[in-house]
Subunit: 470 residues, 2 copies
């Protein structure tokens, strides 16, 4: 077969969130770049991640708002019956507008600079795309993203869905079993329950990435009141029931075997990095034991000097904001190689948009324990329960915020929370941590009256009180 | 009449938001304090301000959510009819829980330290309460708050409502004319419209405290699509129609006299400080030309050395967060007088919870012009239009953010905005300003994907681009 040869300065593999940013920042100074992508266009976040699940959730929350109306003194003489049959179609229409932005970005790249296909490394300066195009490059950025994991047991079931397929369904299923208390598992469970779907989420006691037992306990209670959340439940077997859905056998709380019939099953346990078929290990690009590409966090350099990586392919934090920042920095370093700019990573903020929201800002409690062990610093945990009075509207009650404060310098280093409007609280805390604010400063800070953020002041005040006693 | 005599170190006049904080901070070190209050217990914010209007708004938004459902692909086979007859009763039930906290705070104060009645100054160390109790004090904090202004024309109408009376109505009126595009005027108009009340808000081109023409233009457009907003409309006359509501005659856009019939009229133009009957000027406490008590902003000292003031009584910013901070600081200085602690006031954030939200963080555009004139620094204005893609849920579209950046040091000094979820944006910007972040720093900052806060990064990037061109 005739192999076409292409040369470029920097090659970007993958046109998702990280790849697009890498390409943008690499071409900025007129560098000759090529971008290769194999999948359907549109980023994971847009096609099967944050975007569609947020659309599903906003539909669910609007519908659920009707149930809250009674608390506000609003009633309906006749029962409100909603027809949700167009939810998925409507969701895809909005999604199409977002993916079209990526498409139009790609189409603005000269045709000979964007190549469709799967790239395989020959050596550290050459890839072959689908055995027919050979690209030689000076530097490369790998940004191939991640894919949903389907376990062996799940893969034996016919038509099991991942988030890739779920958002392509014609209509909402009547009933769904979601496997995995990952971010997307919990968000799907919550949104579908609000939309009137019969949902069961099978997950672990350690919901998502939370590590603080107090937060986990509140999260279990509050989420369980909104959808069926099965924790550490032993599944004895799962069976196809032909066109009739799935039978799920499990051991219930009392030790009896029990049975659920569900129309659909969604695998949402985890995502795995897309590293297969690239021949990475043969050219010296090392992976960690979970299959992620090893990178120097300060430069995003892989174990091969001129090859960089960014986004989901190099860690388990599936966050567009992180993928974007990494893409930008990896693209920059690939363009200026061998001169590298060290990056200072931003304080993490990660959010699960359930109702209430789960969130982490800075370090988790487990990470704080590691930090304490390594540095010798001690820290205090301050818990604040959220009750009526923290919020505008006030009817949404409950929740908890824990902040972790260094005893040495009084700075807040981490927080976990489960709270309505917790996204605001988490983003504000992250900015406060980024600026290394102490609890003493935050205890004096006044937020707008009745806003959720006021709980930060309250937590800071508690922390100051305890630190002063020490 | 027998006059009872009471002595104390610090006297606090007014048990609202500012007064309670002043009392708390003054008694902290065991100081002998007395608090006097004349009104019904409960702060203005709780009785007729932020709390009830936020409850009304949350009811309105939940009801309005039904109308958005069609965009999400959710329809109703039969028309949804809501019965809102219990909205006001339900609102007062929640409010009662909040005011009960103030009550229980007051009841924990020893009975001889809390006195009911109106205080009148005899000299700078003595007040008489309702002519029957004479209190001598070393220092005092005046925190008597503010009351709704009713204009002369309005006062001639029978049963005209202020926010004091509105929330005591048995039921929502069928139709309401709100006079004033103040914060509470706009919030009431928005909430009532969402609740199906026929609303007309008569206001000024300069809505609320906004000064930026671009923001005002967007705000007019977006709010007008939600409720009837009459701008700078000339009212020719208003008449009682006995038990039948009010007739409002006005000149419409085409210059014709037109007529509206409304069941209720709410006066929401402004609030005036409660300074009457205290004999302030005779003892040397000076007022400014709007009737507010003159205080040194750094110490909250009035023109009489041992008398301090805090909250609505000394300025036109009717914000609980400011009243709280001032109450705390005035109480502290009153307790330690003549040793005074200078306060550093926090970056302002003020929010109108309409849909979309209006907000100011730091300086307004007008204040920036004053700043530029005084300091000789120049500044640039960066406008960002919010379109789909900034938000989770994505269906809420439109809005605008303007940030004002110093050319000298690249710090953001102010912002005005009109945006969905603008409250988050404003509070985050205020914290960023408090920490004196530059646009260069914020342009590099990544917020959580699809969150409203991402517009801050976008505005900062625009600002950096323009500053670098200069």
């Amino acid at each position: 077969m005739d192999v076409r040869k292409v040369e470029c300065q920097t090659l970007v593999i993958g046109a998702g969130t990280a790849g697009i940013e890498a390409y943008k920042s690499a071409v900025k100074d007129g560098l000759d770049c090529v971008i290769v992508d194999s999948g359907p266009l549109g980023t994971t976040a847009q096609r099967s991640g944050e975007l569609p699940v947020s659309l599903l959730m906003s539909a669910g929350q609007s519908l659920h708002a009707i149930e809250n109306l009674e608390d506000c003194g609003i009633t309906f003489p006749s029962k409100v019956q909603a027809d949700t049959s167009n939810v998925m179609v409507s969701l895809r229409a909005v999604r199409a507008r977002a993916t079209s932005e990526v498409l139009s970005f790609m189409y603005r790249i000269p045709e000979n600079k964007r190549i469709r296909g799967k790239a395989k490394f020959i050596d550290s300066h050459t890839v072959v795309v689908d055995d027919c195009i050979e690209i030689s490059f000076n530097t490369a950025v790998i940004a191939t993203g991640s894919s949903p994991l389907v376990t062996y047991e799940q893969s034996r079931l016919k038509n099991i869905l991942t988030t890739n397929e779920f958002f392509e369904l014609e209509k909402l299923p009547k009933s769904v079993a979601v496997f995995g208390s990952s971010k997307i598992g919990l968000e799907l469970g919550q949104a579908l329950a609000y939309l009137g779907v019969d949902v069961a989420v099978f997950g672990q006691r350690k919901l998502w990435a939370l590590t603080d037992d107090s937060i986990l306990t509140v999260a279990h209670q509050m989420l369980s009141s909104r959808f069926n959340l099965y924790i550490d439940t032993f599944i004895t077997s799962m069976e196809d029931e032909d066109d009739n859905g799935y039978a799920i056998y499990y051991i219930d709380d009392r030790g009896y075997e029990n049975y659920l019939h569900m129309q659909s099953v969604v695998a949402a346990t985890d995502r795995i990095p897309n590293v297969g078929g690239m021949n990475l290990q043969n050219i010296g690009v090392k992976l960690d034991r979970t299959g992620c590409i090893n990178v120097d966090p300060e430069t995003l350099q892989t174990t091969v000097d001129n090859i960089f990586a960014a986004g989901d392919v190099c860690h388990a934090e599936h966050l567009s904001s992180i993928a974007m920042a990494e893409g930008r920095d990896a693209g920059l370093n690939a363009a200026t190689f061998p001169n590298l700019t060290k990056r200072r990573s931003q304080v993490r903020v990660d959010i699960v948009f359930t109702d209430p929201v789960l969130a982490i800002a800075g370090k988790t409690l487990n990470e704080m324990r590691d930090y304490a062990r390594v540095t010798g610093d001690t820290f205090i945990t301050t818990e604040v329960r959220l009750s009526q009075g923290h919020y505008r509207g006030l009817r949404a009650d409950g929740g908890i915020l824990s902040i972790y404060t260094s005893v040495k310098n009084h700075k807040i280093l981490g927080a976990e929370l489960c709270a309505f409007k917790g996204d605001k609280i988490a983003q504000l805390l992250a900015l406060a941590m980024e600026n290394e604010l102490t609890v003493d400063t935050l205890a004096q800070y006044y937020f707008f009256n009745l806003s959720a953020e006021t709980v930060i002041t309250q937590a800071a005040k508690e922390a100051v009180k305890r630190l002063n006693k020490k």
